[in-house]
């Protein structure tokens, strides 16, 4: 398999995985806490490290669009929140990883992405859905949620990058 085809197949695999995780998490009843874990961000972080910003952006947008199609939520308020959070998240993660791995590891990048995701959602909620300052009451909860979910997803992303990266190297050899 040539390098181009191999890259396309790898990205398709990551996109499929992201859509499955996104959809399953959305369908899982989760009533104990105010936030979701955003496990699909594990795939975004891994794509960012394995393939770069453009492909991570493509996988994120693709995951949100295909996930919304699967859930019948295209154009819904939840879709608007996902899209705004997803775009801001991948942009901030790109900036966070720019100085190199000695500054932020995958864990730091993931926490920055989770915080940006949650703040992007709140901004979209305020500017698009509910023009009320009461929305900002959620800021502290969203930030604390971002630290917890960002750490968990960052650790998982490290493992995924190591496994996926090792597999990629084996195939290319």
């Amino acid at each position: 398999m040539n390098a181009g085809m191999h890259r396309t197949a790898g990205l398709a695999l990551l996109l499929a995985l992201a859509v499955i995780v996104h959809t399953v998490e959305a369908l899982t009843p989760f009533t104990a806490a105010w936030f979701r874990f955003g496990f699909a961000n594990i795939i975004t972080v891994a794509t960012l490290y394995l393939y770069g910003f453009k492909d991570a952006f493509f996988v994120t947008i693709g995951r949100i669009l295909l996930g919304a199609l699967a859930l019948g939520a295209l154009g819904s308020p939840g879709f608007v929140l996902s899209l705004s959070g997803g775009i801001l998240s991948v942009l901030v993660m790109r900036v966070a990883m720019a100085p190199g791995p000695r500054v932020f590891s995958e864990i730091g990048v993931s926490i920055a992405g989770a915080a940006a995701h949650n703040m992007g959602q709140l901004m979209a909620a305020y500017f698009v859905l509910i023009k009320s300052d009461a929305v900002f009451l959620l800021v502290p909860w969203m930030l604390l949620g971002a630290v917890v979910t960002g750490m968990l997803n960052g650790v998982a992303a490290q493992a995924l990058i190591a496994r996926f990266g090792a597999h990629e190297a084996t195939v290319i050899e």
Binding site: A26, F30, T31, A32, W34, R36, S76, P77, G78, L81, P101, R102, V103, F104, S105, E106, I107, G108, I111, A112, A115, A125, L129, I130, K131, S132, D133, A134, V135, F136, L137, L138, V139, P140, W141, L143, L144, A146, V147, M151, V155, Q158, A159, A162, R163, A166, H167, T170
Partner: protein, 130 residues
């Protein structure tokens, strides 16, 4: 392929980011309520940025507010207001608890419903709904 998970790698700046984010969150806990809320003996219910209903907290009421996803049921009982039912997918609003005269707000972002405390009604009405 390696079967064991890789060793956890975390940097000084990761830890600094965690501390700063938790610090901002802790500060927000004290700052945002004073910026956005004040206690009151009334409750205002908004849907899609429009005031739909206003009730005194001492009146036991159960009302339905119809948002884009369907009816959200708001209940005032024994001076405390809560969201009893919601058509939103995650039901986070229903699990946000309740509030009374001390002030507070309940949000259902998907159904665009906000329930928040308010001071006494300027025109002297005990309650109104649209």
């Amino acid at each position: 392929m390696r079967l064991l998970p890789p060793p956890l790698r975390i940097t000084f700046f990761d830890i600094l980011l965690i501390i700063v984010t938790v610090g901002i969150a802790a500060a927000s806990f004290s700052v945002t309520p004073s910026m956005t809320l004040s206690g009151g003996r009334h409750v205002e219910i908004y849907c899609a940025n429009r005031l739909e209903a206003r009730y005194p907290l001492d009146q036991d009421v159960t009302t339905k507010i119809v948002g884009p996803l369907g009816p959200t049921v708001v209940r005032i009982k024994n001076g405390r207001v809560s969201i009893a039912a919601s058509p939103c997918p995650n039901k986070r609003c229903m699990h946000s608890g309740d509030f009374g005269a001390e002030g507070g707000a309940l949000l259902c972002i998907p159904n665009q419903v906000i329930v928040r405390s308010a001071h006494s009604v300027p025109d002297g009405l005990d309650g109104m709904s649209r």
